[in-house]
Amino acid sequence: MGRFVARRLLQMIPVFLGTTALIFYMVHALPGDPVAAMWGDKAPDPVQLAALRHQMGFDKPLVQQYLDYMGNLLTGDFGTTLAGRPVLDVITEALPVTVRLALLAFTIEIVLGVSIGLFAGLRRGKAFDKGTLVMTLLLISIPVPVLGFIFQTIFADNLKWVTPTVQDSNDITQLMLPAIVLGSLSLAYVARLTRTSIAENIKADYVRTAVAKGLPRRKVIGTHLLRNSMIPVVTFLGTDLGALMGGAIVTEGIFNVKGVGNALFHAINLKEGSTVSGFVAFLVLVYLAAGLIVDLLYAVLDPRIRYA
């Protein structure tokens, strides 16, 4: 177990180096000069352009820029944005907001998704099950922006329960609506995965054995059935957490949440290599960590799985 974790952690290093190098190159390969773009429609003053490019290190070869960047990264220096702010500030500003939003959405999808899936799976073919299938199909087929605007209209414009957009991104109660929108799609997937898995396993031998042993129904479902049915769900949740952390650009835009998605989108638009790389480096770490946790959870959920 310990060796497995150590090996996985060591594997992260080349993955991390590879992804950051790739992202660094890709941002550089985007067409257009980010410094010249500061002048907008007007022709840049060539002297000032050259001076700014030099100040920001854009006049060096790309490999040199990347090595400088990685070197600084080791000392905890994430570089600066085109506006001269430390990238670390931008990250530490946006990250807590996104973590809150993602965890909120994540909790909603786990609690609701698993319970709905469980009930539907146990009552396969009944009205609740059919209702679940229809509802989740609906959620999966509605694009997030549409859902966002529908919720905005209902809860803000009509019912006036909330403001249409998030006024304070650090206020967790205001993040509820975006979190529901963000979590709804995954909620549908989680509910469907759980339902199928439960419906499948309920016919398994070990469940029959548990029932035959005279275990209470609660225990049969909670300890045996649910636990064994969670493996596909956990696999999905692991990757979904990463997606929630980095991919909420649309939802953040609709509700004006100042999270990672927004910051990343803004940085890509400005072609700010240092900011994009900083965020991506971080997201890569989140993905890798989530992947590791999922693998370890397999062993917890199913004792037959062992890591050496």
């Binding site: 500061m38 002048w39 007007k42 000032q48 700014l52 085109l82 506006a83 414009d157 004006n256 927004n262």
Partner: protein
């Protein structure tokens, strides 16, 4: 004014619609009397540079700076005419040496007086290459600019020889050449004064600016908001009628519009394209539809052999006449633009309606005839390069349809993924035939729309247009003895453009905006900014 991102923003906001309401005064209801101590919120975007006057050339930072600082002059929001602010008077006898007299009593927000040296130090610092100010080239008219900002290498001086402090309230500006309308340029934020404390720590100051404008800086929560409050000691003619402005950062105008409708945001700068058709009914008398000093054009690659010969001007005139501007602005653009009849935008000092003549009127028969006379479009096919991120696709396609149907010339849009890619292609002379271009006023004077764009070798002459008659007329206008003569001179220069037709004027921009039920007396100027200090917050 803001050149860069301002332009970026206006052009990006461009899918729009408009009507005719004008943003003059009296908001909805209007029953309660205004409370001068209350603040209002404005839709903004995170400044892309530190808040230094010569470093803000995009809307996000520009509109904050223009409230924190006040220069020698500014432009009356309702008439776009120049008016004196810190300056008491600006005299010149030869359009080359300007004697500036300041009003006594102006103060910075830290209590120090605004004196002549604050202007001179500010301009010298901002112009110097090593201080990396994006708007440094704004000072290029001043004598000695080449010493602080040489064409290559390090500056050899830190002061421009053309600036001389006479005493606390007087200084002189000597220009390298005669520029009769120089005072018009002085309304740009780059010419703001800076307090002595600035020079100790310019970078720190950029995060916490101290100015002399109607509002003083309170706080800046990055990506969230910039808070300002009214400055009690403000000496300008436009004393704030409200307690301050909160600049709230929005990433999408849809989100801002949703907040505006629910009064969580008070004033916004442009309604989202998706709301253009409905915003007037949504907001009622709180909707705004005002002219802007900005124009949309189609430019041509005169530097290409195919387009260089003089008779191709006829082809361009013909293409211009094949575009049905009225229909396109009404349908595709939902009335958010006004058909152009000149190269200078409406409302600008020196605007001359109809300068384009018949060439800007829709006449398919004449169009065909001119194109044939000119030898036809090279390859009988025109491509129009544009940036796909600015909502331009719809009208470029409409213009192409108009050209195709009326002349038989094949026409296609050539989208580039975003603004900076399109600009790189245009300035790098990598486009073929035609491209979308536009101009947003830096200052509301016709010279700005002409000299900076159509002069031989001008910074924004992306066409490679070179007309000795135009250059001569422009130079003559620059050397005129008064602004009025300059304006007339540039009108003569503009009259040269129809014969060469380097760019086809399409339409003028408008501000389509609105405000919440909490505020009143909201009017927009030709820069697309509200008259900030005049906004009244209901009690």
């Amino acid at each position: 004014m803001p050149v860069a991102a301002r332009a970026r923003w206006v052009l990006a906001a461009a899918t729009s619609v408009v009507l005719v309401a004008t943003g003059c005064s009296s908001g909805g209801g209007g029953s309660s009397s205004p409370d001068a101590s209350k603040t209002f919120s404005y839709q903004s975007s995170e400044p892309q540079n530190p808040l230094q006057p010569a470093n803000a050339n995009e809307v996000g930072g520009g509109r904050i700076i223009q409230n924190l600082f006040k220069g020698l002059v500014d432009y009356d929001p309702s008439t776009a005419k120049i008016r004196m602010q810190v300056a008491d008077k600006i005299d010149t006898s030869d359009s080359q040496t300007f004697n500036v007299t300041l009003k006594d009593g102006w103060k910075f927000h830290d209590g120090t007086p605004v004196h002549a040296k604050n202007f001179v130090d500010s301009w010298n610092w901002s112009a110097t290459t090593s201080n990396n100010q994006i708007n440094s080239s704004w000072f290029s008219d001043i004598e000695g600019y080449k010493d602080v900002h040489p064409a290559s290498g390090q500056p050899t001086a830190t002061k421009m020889s053309g600036l001389t402090v006479v005493d606390d309230l007087h200084f002189t500006v000597k220009l390298a050449n005669r520029v009769s309308y120089f005072e018009y340029k002085l309304g740009y934020i780059a010419f703001s004064p800076l307090p002595d404390a600035f020079f100790n720590d310019p970078a720190g100051y950029g995060q916490k600016p101290v100015g002399n404008g109607p509002y003083q800086f309170v706080s800046w929560t990055h990506n969230t908001q910039v808070v300002t409050k009214a400055f009690a000691d403000y000496q300008g003619v436009d004393k704030p009628k409200n307690g301050g402005i909160v600049f709230k950062m929005y990433t999408t105008s849809e989100a801002a519009y949703a907040d505006l409708q629910s009064s969580n945001l008070d004033v916004m700068d442009q309604v989202p394209p998706s709301a253009l058709a409905t915003y007037k009914s949504d907001l009622g008398d709180r909707a705004i539809d005002a002219p802007q000093g900005a124009i949309q054009n189609i430019g041509f690659t005169l530097y290409q052999a195919d387009w260089a010969s003089p008779d191709k001007a006829k082809v361009r005139q013909g293409l211009s006449m094949a575009i049905d501007r009225d229909t396109i602005t009404k349908t595709v653009l939902q009335g958010s633009r006004k058909p152009a009849t000149a190269w200078v935008a409406e409302g600008v000092e020196g605007y001359k309606s109809g300068a384009c003549g018949d060439f800007c009127t829709f006449d398919p028969a004449k169009a065909k005839q001119l194109i044939t006379e000119g030898g036809g479009v090279p390859g009988n096919k025109l491509t129009i390069t544009y940036n796909a991120d600015g909502g331009h696709k719809e009208w470029v396609d409409a213009v192409c349809n108009s050209i195709r149907q009326n002349t038989g010339v094949d026409c296609l849009g050539d989208p580039k993924p975003d603004f900076k890619t399109a600009r790189a292609a245009i300035t790098g002379h990598q486009v073929n035939g035609a491209f979308r271009t536009g101009w947003v006023q830096d200052y509301p004077l016709n010279a700005n729309f002409l000299s900076d764009v159509y002069r031989t070798g001008a910074a924004s002459n992306d066409f490679g247009y070179s007309s000795p008659q135009f250059d001569q007329a422009a130079t003559k206008a620059d050397e005129a003895s008064s602004v009025a003569d300059t304006v007339a001179g540039y009108q003569q220069a503009e009259a040269v453009l129809p014969s060469g037709m380097p760019a086809i004027p399409l339409w003028y921009y408008r501000t389509n905006s609105g405000y919440s039920s909490k505020v009143q007396n909201v009017a927009f100027d030709s820069f697309g900014n509200p008259a900030w200090t005049q906004v009244e917050v209901k009690g």
